[in-house]
C-alpha cells in the first residue's frame, strides 16, 4: 500500500467535492423526507421507523460512495493515467488497494453525516449502538468498493458511471433499503437474500432490531467481496497485457 498515493487520492476527493456532495446529499434528503413523514411510526418489532430509515439510508449512502469509485477508475483508465502509472514502479496491487481504500474513505463521511442528521432529529441510540452501526455500515461497504472496481476496470468512464447508477436501483430497492421488504412481493424478498445490499442494511439495523444473524450477513458480504476481488485481479492482469 502506498500511503502517499492514498493521501493524494483523498485530497483529490476533497478538491472535487461535487461528487461527494451528491453522494451524501441524496440519501440525506431521502432520510429527512421519509424520516420526517413516517419517522414516528412504530414498527411491529417495536422499533421506530425513523431509526430504521436512518440505518437504511446510511447503508445506501455507504454503498453508493464505495461503488462510485468504479467511475473514477474507468475515467483514469480511458484517459491514460493507468498507462502513466505502469511506467512507474507502482504495482497493480498497490493501485488497486489505494482505490479500495479511497472508496472506503468516500463511504465513511456519508454514514457520519446521516448519523449526525439522525442525532439532530432526535434518534436515540446508546453510544455502543452508534459505534457498532457506524463500523458495520462502513466496513460493510468493502464489497461495494471492489464491485465498483470490477465495473471500473471493464468499461469507459461515462458508461461505468451510468452502469453504476443503474446498479444502485435494484441494489437499493430489492435490498430493502428504500422500503421494507414486507411491502414487496415474496419473490423480491427471496432475491434480496442474495444481494449484498440487503445484508449491509441488516448489519446496520442489527444493533437495534437483532433481526438477522450477523454471521450470515458477514458470510454473504464476504462472498460478495471475494468473488469480485478475484475478477479484479484477473482483469487487471489481462488489461496490462492488452495495452
Amino acid at each position: 500500500m502506498n500511503l502517499t498515493y492514498l493521501r493524494l487520492e483523498i485530497l483529490r476527493i476533497v478538491r472535487s467535492p461535487q461528487f461527494a456532495i451528491f453522494t451524501i446529499g441524496m440519501p440525506l434528503v431521502m432520510f429527512l423526507l421519509f424520516g420526517g413523514l413516517f419517522g414516528d411510526t412504530v414498527l411491529p418489532n417495536g422499533t421506530r421507523s425513523g431509526v430504521v430509515t436512518m440505518m437504511n439510508m446510511a447503508a445506501y449512502g455507504s454503498m453508493a460512495g464505495a461503488l462510485f469509485t468504479g467511475a473514477r477508475v474507468a475515467t483514469e483508465r480511458t484517459e491514460g493515467w493507468q498507462r502513466q502509472l505502469r511506467v512507474t514502479p507502482m504495482r497493480a496491487s498497490s493501485y488497486l488497494s489505494v482505490k479500495v481504500f479511497s472508496a472506503m474513505a468516500m463511504a465513511l463521511p456519508v454514514v457520519v453525516v446521516i448519523f449526525a442528521a439522525g442525532m439532530l432529529r432526535g434518534e436515540h441510540l446508546t453510544a455502543g449502538q452508534w459505534v457498532t452501526a457506524l463500523v458495520s455500515l462502513w466496513l460493510g461497504a468493502l464489497p461495494f468498493a471492489v464491485l465498483g472496481l470490477v465495473a471500473g476496470l471493464h468499461g469507459k468512464g461515462d458508461t461505468v458511471g451510468a452502469v453504476t447508477g443503474a446498479m444502485m436501483l435494484p441494489l437499493g430497492m430489492f435490498g430493502g433499503l428504500w422500503m421494507p421488504l414486507q411491502m414487496l412481493p415474496d419473490w423480491m424478498g427471496t432475491i434480496a437474500r442474495f444481494l449484498p445490499s440487503y445484508w449491509l442494511g441488516a448489519l446496520g439495523r442489527s444493533p437495534l432490531t437483532h433481526e438477522a444473524g450477523i454471521g450470515t450477513a458477514v458470510l454473504v458480504l464476504a462472498a460478495w467481496l471475494v468473488v469480485p476481488a478475484l475478477v479484479v485481479l484477473r482483469r487487471f492482469r489481462l488489461d496490462t497485457a492488452k495495452l
Partner: protein, 320 residues
C-alpha cells in the same frame, strides 16, 4: 556524440513481432542498444515505433520474440527504477498539482532524486503548485518528463517527447535530455522529425511497416539511403533499356524526359552516354536525407516519385 558507450547492453529486442488483428504493427524487429547510447527510433506515423516502445517497456507482450532490459524482464527494470519512460497517451490527473505528481512518483521509488532537483531538471519549478488541468500541453509534457526522471533511471525511453512542445520548449527539452545523457545514461526516443534524430542521436533506427529499414550512425544511414537522381532528355529510348543501365535502380519516362534513380550515378551516366549518345540536358542531383527518409518510409514518396519501390535505393543488406 553525446554518450560514452560501455559496450554492455542496456536492452535488446530479438525477433519481436506484434500484430493487432490483421495489422503487423511490429514484424521481426531486432535491436541491441549499448549503455550510453542515444538512439532515435525514426519513422512516420504507423511505422511501429510506439508498439516497439510498448514492447520494450513491458506495456504490451510480444506475439513472438524477446525483450531483455539490463539482462532481465522489462517490468523488473521499471520496478527497480532502472528504466523510466514518457509514454504517449499517458495522462496526468487534472486535480493534482505538478509537484504532487512528482511526490507520487517519488513515493514509488526506493532511491528517488530529491524533488527540487527533479523539478529543476524538468523545468517545472515555476508552475509546481498549479493543478495539471490548468497547465498547457507543453507544461504537462514537462511534468511527465519530471515523472520519468524521478527514479534517476539508467535508461530513459521517450515516445514522441516533443509532440506537444513549441520551438522554445523543444530546445529546452533537448538541452535537458543532453545533460541527462552526458552522464553516460542511455536514451531511446521515438520521433518522426528527421532533424531531431540528426541533431540529438548517436544512432538512428529507421522503421517502416513494422520493420527496421536501416540502423546505424546517422552518417551511415544517410549514405545508405541517399542515392542520386539523373535526369536527361533521351529521344527514342525505351524505359526498360534505361532501367537496365548500370548503376540505375529504376527508370521513368515522361515523353522524352527520363528520370533515373541511381545507386551509382557515375556508372549510370557512362552507360547512358554509351547507349544513347543523343542524350542531352543531363542533370544529376543528390537525394537529401529528407528525401531518402521519405523514400524509405513511404511507398510512393514525395520528391523522389521516380523511385517506385523505396527498397531499391537501399543497397543490399547495407545496414541490417
Amino acid at each position: 556524440m553525446m554518450g560514452a558507450t560501455t559496450g554492455e547492453a542496456a536492452f535488446s529486442l530479438r525477433g519481436l513481432a506484434k500484430r493487432f488483428g490483421d495489422v503487423r504493427a511490429v514484424d521481426g524487429v531486432s535491436v541491441e542498444v549499448s549503455r550510453g547510447e542515444v538512439v532515435a527510433l525514426l519513422g512516420p506515423n504507423g511505422a511501429g515505433k510506439s508498439t516497439t516502445i510498448d514492447l520494450l517497456l513491458g506495456l504490451a507482450r510480444p506475439d513472438a520474440g524477446e525483450v531483455r532490459v539490463f539482462g532481465g524482464e522489462p517490468r523488473a527494470a521499471v520496478e527497480h527504477g532502472r528504466m523510466a519512460a514518457m509514454v504517449q497517451n499517458g495522462s496526468l490527473l487534472r486535480d493534482m498539482t505538478a509537484a504532487e505528481h512528482v511526490t507520487l512518483v517519488r513515493s514509488t521509488h526506493q532511491r528517488p532524486l530529491p524533488a527540487d532537483e527533479i523539478m529543476a531538471r524538468a523545468g517545472i519549478t515555476d508552475f509546481a503548485n498549479r493543478r495539471c488541468g490548468k497547465l498547457s500541453g507543453g507544461q504537462q509534457q514537462r511534468v511527465r518528463y519530471a515523472m520519468a526522471l524521478a527514479g534517476n533511471p539508467d535508461l530513459l525511453v521517450l515516445d514522441e517527447p516533443t509532440a506537444a512542445l513549441d520551438v522554445e520548449g523543444r530546445r529546452e527539452f533537448w538541452a535537458s535530455m543532453r545533460e541527462f545523457a552526458a552522464s553516460g545514461r542511455t536514451v531511446v526516443f521515438a520521433t518522426h522529425y528527421l532533424a531531431e534524430a540528426e541533431d540529438y542521436a548517436d544512432r538512428v533506427v529507421l522503421m517502416r511497416h513494422g520493420r527496421i529499414a536501416a540502423d546505424g550512425p546517422i552518417a551511415r544511414v544517410r549514405a545508405a539511403v541517399a542515392g542520386r537522381v539523373l535526369r536527361a532528355v533521351v529521344p527514342g529510348a525505351p524505359e526498360a533499356a534505361l532501367a537496365a543501365l548500370p548503376g540505375v535502380s529504376t527508370a521513368r519516362l515522361r515523353g522524352d524526359r527520363a528520370e533515373l534513380a541511381c545507386a551509382d550515378s557515375d556508372a549510370a551516366i557512362r552507360g547512358l552516354l554509351a547507349a544513347f549518345p543523343l542524350a542531352s540536358d543531363i542533370e544529376i542531383t543528390a537525394v537529401g536525407l529528407e528525401d531518402a527518409f521519405l523514400a524509405l518510409t513511404s511507398d510512393n514518396a514525395g520528391i523522389t516519385d521516380n523511385v517506385d519501390n523505396a527498397d531499391t535505393v537501399e543497397p543490399e543488406g547495407a545496414l541490417r
